[in-house]
């Protein structure tokens, strides 16, 4: 399992302050530290690698431009970067890029550890996992990547997605259950096929 650890908040604020003073060391340090999580976020959403690189490059070039135009963020650098990354993806694909999956909010079968569902989930490899994740609606992908993938807090995720914390709570719940239903489809296809 690969977890990308972001710099802690005090370190992030220090770096951001230095970057705002125009220190190139700090700007490049921000690039080195924040590219992996930002790229991971974009890459999971975007199929083509070259496109993901272009979008990620736009995020950091925008950051450099923002520093120049003195409209760079004053705090929560990570929130700013993820927000811009999200906007880049939306601008590229259009906001409504999603599958017409019928809502399955209440789809909650009982299960235990020997459950074939859990066993199947554990057997899913990275490629199939990505495939399943990309079948979710945009905001559902985002919330899962930020909460489970990047391990951001509820508040941070809410800031990035521009939603209230209670809306994020519902969204992540809906998202995970939609993901389960997609996995369930994959499992039954495998069993029957």
């Amino acid at each position: 399992m690969i977890i990308i650890v972001l710099p802690d908040i005090p370190a992030e604020d220090r770096l951001l302050a230095q970057a705002r003073q125009g220190q190139q060391d700090a700007i490049m340090q921000i690039y080195e530290s924040y590219f992996p999580p930002v790229f991971q976020f974009i890459r999971l959403r975007v199929g083509e690698r070259a496109l993901a690189e272009d979008l990620a490059s736009d995020v950091f070039v925008k950051f450099v431009d923002a520093l120049q135009g003195h409209n760079a963020p004053r705090h929560s650098l990570r929130g700013w970067l993820f927000r811009v990354a999200r906007n880049e993806i939306h601008d590229y694909y259009g906001k409504s890029r999603q599958l017409p999956i019928t809502t399955l909010d209440e789809w909650l079968p009982d299960s235990n550890d020997n459950d074939p569902e859990i066993q199947f989930i554990r057997s899913v490899n990275a490629d199939r996992a990505r495939h399943a994740i990309r079948m979710l609606a945009a905001d559902q992908q985002e919330v899962l990547i930020l909460r489970f993938g990047q391990m951001l807090s509820l508040q941070e995720t809410a800031d990035i997605l521009g939603k209230s914390t209670s809306a994020v709570k519902s969204l992540q719940f809906r998202a995970i259950n939609t993901l389960r239903s997609i996995l369930e489809t994959m499992r039954t296809e495998r069993v029957n096929g």
Partner: protein
């Protein structure tokens, strides 16, 4: 709608997983929800599993870094020019200011590119240039400081955007020697006009943590190759010349490449020239509308070298389909004429896609992933326009 306690329990468990606990650790606290929570949290485990490998991320990070450095360096160019224009007007005022802040500027003297006080150092220099009667002596002296700074940055393994002037001392496909510094030429380096050994150039570059200097752009500042006004003091005792003798082998740092790049020589009196493929060079098939000088520029070499290696005598005579030895595969340069091609992003993207299309060095691995993606995105496209859930 699922009840609030369930939403909260699920949310707390996500935080618990983020803190490094297991699924069981959290589910235990919510016996009532355990059967429902467990498969949800298991499904959440797919997110970390779906992440791309650090090696792949690193590769992309290395590719994109250049564009960020380029943005940083063009930012410097944009911000610098108005100051230059205003300089004569406010110079006297600034001079007084500088005198008042003498102590600060002394501190600034030892600063490096990227430091807060570095701007002050450069400003002090520019003011000295403005008031000096001996500009010709000061300028090379200041340029020498630039080169000294770069060496310090490299020694300290710091990343910074740097600029300096110097004479091109050697040209290899991916590495040039300018003013005693080895410059790494990436496929995205912008090479202005025809450059050759002996050209006096202005270099914009970035120092990397690995001790490399990556060239962002190289621009010729004097039309004809001349002997540099002041030989670099202390850095290199080697004086670049244009004489046809293989002077490059005297450069201690470039001995291994010297055989690849003897100084350019027009093959006028050659008796029998046989094209031989230099080590590391590739075969390129001439495309319609190619020009020899265009190929030279876009492959990071010079017309003369290209002609000599390929035994060409007429610079205007190449035909479509003709096979040439080139240091790297040519890359279309049109979009890079202005260093900041930030005009329209779509254009940018197109250009980048084009670059990877030439297949010079970009993504080899991950192709099977992309195959998987294409089916996924087709599925998604079909759902475009449907309302939010």
């Amino acid at each position: 709608m699922a009840d609030q306690d369930m939403l909260t329990a699920f949310n707390n468990c996500i935080d618990s997983l983020a803190a490094g606990n297991s699924v069981d650790d959290c589910v235990r606290h919510y016996p009532r929800f355990a059967p429902a929570l467990r498969p949800m949290l298991e499904a959440g485990q797919l997110l970390p599993r779906a992440q791309f490998s650090p090696a792949e991320i690193q590769e992309s990070q290395d590719r994109v870094r250049f564009r960020v450095v380029q943005a940083l360096s063009s930012r410097r160019e944009r911000t610098r020019s108005p100051i230059r224009r205003l300089m004569p007007l406010v110079a006297s005022l600034i001079l007084i200011f500088i005198l008042a802040l003498g102590a600060t500027s002394i501190l600034a003297e030892s600063s490096l590119p990227g430091d807060t006080l570095y701007g002050m150092k450069r400003l002090t220099e520019n003011i000295r240039l403005l008031f000096t009667s001996n500009r010709d002596a000061l300028e090379p002296q200041f340029n020498q400081r630039r080169i000294g700074e770069i060496e310090q940055l490299l020694a300290q393994q710091r990343e910074a955007v740097v600029e300096f002037e110097g004479t091109v001392e050697a040209i290899n496909s991916t590495e040039w020697l300018v003013a005693g510094l080895r410059l790494h030429i990436s496929p995205e380096t912008i090479l202005h006009a025809s450059l050759q050994v002996g050209s006096v150039v202005e270099v914009s570059a970035a120092t990397m943590q690995n001790g490399q200097i990556v060239a962002v752009s190289i621009r010729k500042i004097s039309g004809e190759p001349i002997t540099p006004p002041v030989p670099p003091t202390g850095v290199s005792s080697h004086t670049p010349t244009l004489s046809p003798s293989p002077t490059l082998s005297q450069t201690p740092t470039l001995t291994q490449t010297a055989t690849l790049e003897p100084p350019p020589r027009m093959p006028t009196s050659e008796t029998a020239c046989v094209p031989t493929q230099p080590q590391g060079w590739l075969v390129y098939s001439v495309q319609p509308n190619d020009s020899l000088s265009g190929i030279a520029t876009s492959t990071g070499t010079t017309l003369e070298v290209l002609m000599r290696v390929n035994c060409l005598t007429d610079r205007n005579l190449i035909v479509t389909g003709q096979r040439l030895y080139v240091p790297t595969l040519p890359i279309t340069r049109e979009t890079q004429e202005s260093p900041v091609a930030r005009g329209t992003e779509v254009e940018n993207r197109g250009a980048n896609g084009g670059n990877s299309g030439t297949g010079s060095s970009s993504s080899g691995p991950g192709s099977d992933d992309d195959r998987d993606d294409s089916s996924g995105s087709e599925g998604n496209d079909s759902g475009r326009g449907s309302g939010d859930g």
